[in-house]
């Protein structure tokens, strides 16, 4: 796999797509800012001591009434919008990436088992996948979230909400991995090297993970890239609907939800800038994912 990354073709195709290069730089900047948010952000929006309520609802710096210290303005509590966006992207990326990884691990494992074991196990896993595929991901995520709320009731803390949303998004997205990996596994299973491994008596699990899996991973890579942006959107939707991450650690979706309340009083910047940040983040990942899909699989062009 490591060799694939350094593949000359991939590098060549990357350097000949200026749009992809530009969007990758955008994505790198966002990811960098998100990881180092406490040092990059001009203010700490969650340090109550530094908040000045007198600065609440300041418009962006270039608008009349704007203030140089707050480039994109402030929200109703005097928090710097640019800083909340940086911290919000951090939360959005964290949930998106974690949920994607969780979905990938679960989906790949189930797909491997399904394809390698066959028979009843295969039938059961694939029927569950079929039923789930009949419903949109957002509905599954909402339902998982709602059930968790009903089960934990008053014990539903902010910390728990974070894990619940990761699990909810992951459980709505594992099917694609399971199907893809199952398909490749079915092909690989009948190959001679797998039969040879079986003949020398290797454990089925060892065969699955050391022999079959590496050969089934390429399409998974593409799925992961595109899934991250989808997971980020799903998180934003859940947070916007008020069932996502808690307001104490807002994601971009939470920020948009908060800003939405101020739309009518004219404070558009509180919602428009986090919204724009979300679109740019998702678009950057999508462009990269589309390019990766085409580059890794020339037949799709």
């Amino acid at each position: 796999m490591a060799a694939r990354w350094m593949d000359r073709d991939l590098v060549w195709s990357f350097r000949h797509r200026p749009d992809v290069v530009v969007w990758s730089v955008v994505l790198l900047v966002i990811v960098f800012a998100a990881i180092f948010a406490p040092w990059v952000a001009p203010h700490n929006p969650f340090d109550l001591a530094t908040l000045n309520i007198g600065d609440a609802l300041t418009p962006p710096a270039w608008a009349p009434g704007g203030n140089r210290t707050y480039l994109l303005g402030t929200d109703d509590q005097g928090r710097d919008v640019l800083s909340t966006i940086i911290f919000g992207s951090r939360m959005s990326l964290l949930v998106g990436v974690l949920a994607t990884l969780l979905a990938m691990v679960a989906g790949v494992t189930l797909g491997l088992v399904s394809g390698y074991a066959g028979g009843k196990v295969d039938a059961l896993i694939m029927r569950i996948a079929d039923v789930q595929l009949a419903f949109p991901a957002i509905l599954i995520a909402l339902l998982v979230d709602g059930v968790a709320r009903a089960v934990f009731k008053t014990r539903f803390t902010d910390q728990l909400a974070f894990y619940v949303i990761v699990i909810a998004i992951a459980s709505s997205g594992w099917v694609r991995y399971a199907r893809t990996v199952r398909g490749s596994t079915l092909v690989e299973r009948s190959r001679e090297y797998v039969q040879a491994a079986r003949v020398i008596g290797r454990h089925p699990l060892a065969i699955m993970f050391t022999h079959v899996l590496p050969n089934a991973l390429n399409p998974v890579l593409v799925l992961v890239t595109l899934h991250v942006s989808e997971a980020i959107i799903t998180e934003a939707i859940l947070s916007f609907l008020g069932v996502g991450v808690p307001p104490t650690q807002p994601s971009l979706g939470t920020l948009i939800r908060i800003g939405n309340d101020f739309l009518f009083s004219g404070e558009w910047w509180i919602t428009v800038f986090p919204g724009a940040a979300l679109v740019i983040l998702v678009l950057a990942i999508n462009v990269l994912g589309d390019w990766l899909r085409d580059a890794l699989n020339p037949r799709l062009r």
Partner: protein
């Protein structure tokens, strides 16, 4: 063909069975069914009677059967938050969601098909390039952001259209419609554009791709060789043959539209089922969640089934009887 139809029917029943089971598990294990079904002021005698009526002393499968029978009669108990029968609440909000979804689908088709045909016939015009780029952005744009931006522009800045609610509705029996009043129609515009945006981009890209495919086929070349007018070729020969996949995708999208209506309804405070469902999740209102799950499950299954059967009608190749497992 009968085998195909039967197999699809069986699959649909299986899905409904699973959905029903999940709803049952929600209702019986997550929630406390006795307090779910009774108003809070019920006495201990009421509770005992309810327990007997629900058959909670009975074995698991009997309970499940009772739940299914109740569900088929539309009896999902009483909302924890609103204290009213769930069936009434859902029935009240069903017309709002269906009208919104219907108009959104209409927008998706009425705008998506012509735009798709245009971008396929004139692939190099600047308008086509713009439309394709815009549709790519549109796919990346979460539904609720479109709604917020529309509200900002048309309701807040320009003040042309209302940004929340359904406007005045007219009662036709139990159905309420916003189609017959000016304020109802005005209230429909922004939400239906928001909801219709995604199907529009999908239909446009799909029609374009299919048209490009069909225009390359031999029978279109032959039609051109026969000297038929471009108009007849494009619309009679080409477009007609692109419609099969379009029907499928639009049909499958219809379910997605009802699901995405949850988001649009929240943005516009549209009094539909989706808004009810979101509020039910926030308040862990199990009976509404279970009922919504069953209803939406039913809608999805019926749509998937209808699309499959429509496929048989449209595509004669499927009507040929084939040995099982040969597909």
């Amino acid at each position: 063909m009968t085998a195909f139809v039967l197999r699809r029917l069986l699959q649909a029943l299986l899905v409904m069975f699973v959905v029903g089971f999940i709803a049952f598990a929600l209702f019986n294990f997550v929630g406390d069914p006795v307090s779910l079904m009774l108003p809070p002021e019920a006495t201990e005698a009421d509770r005992a009677a309810m327990r007997a009526m629900l058959g909670l002393d009975q074995p698991f499968y009997a309970q499940f059967a009772t739940f299914l029978a109740n569900a088929m009669h539309g009896n999902f108990g009483i909302s924890l938050r609103l204290g009213r029968p769930v069936a009434d609440l859902i029935l009240e909000r069903l017309p709002a969601t269906l009208e919104l979804s219907f108009i959104a689908t209409l927008i998706g088709l009425a705008a998506g098909i012509p735009l798709g045909v245009y971008t396929a016939l004139k692939p190099n015009s600047w308008l086509s390039r713009f439309l394709l780029a815009a549709s790519l952005v549109g796919v990346s744009l979460p539904n609720f952001l479109i709604g917020i931006f529309l509200i900002l522009i048309f309701a807040v800045w320009l003040g042309w259209l209302p940004s929340f609610g359904r406007g005045d509705v007219v009662h036709l029996g139990w159905w309420t419609t916003g189609f017959l009043t000016v304020s109802g129609l005005k209230a429909l515009i922004l939400p239906s554009i928001t909801l219709g945006f995604f199907p529009l981009t999908i239909v446009m890209r799909l029609v374009r791709a299919e048209m490009l495919e069909v225009l390359r086929t031999d029978y279109v070349k032959f039609a051109r060789a026969r000297g038929l007018t471009e108009r007849a070729i494009n619309f009679h020969h080409a477009l007609k043959n692109t419609l099969v996949p379009v029907i499928t995708i639009v049909g499958l999208q219809l379910g997605g539209i009802i699901a995405f209506a949850i988001i649009t309804e929240t943005v516009f405070q549209w009094p539909g089922m989706g808004l009810l469902f979101v509020q039910a999740i926030q308040f862990a209102d199990i009976p509404i969640m279970a009922a919504y799950l069953c209803l939406v499950g039913l809608i999805f299954v019926v749509i998937n089934l209808a699309v499959d059967l429509l496929y048989v009608v449209v595509d004669p190749r499927l009507r040929v009887e084939r040995p099982a497992g040969a597909h």
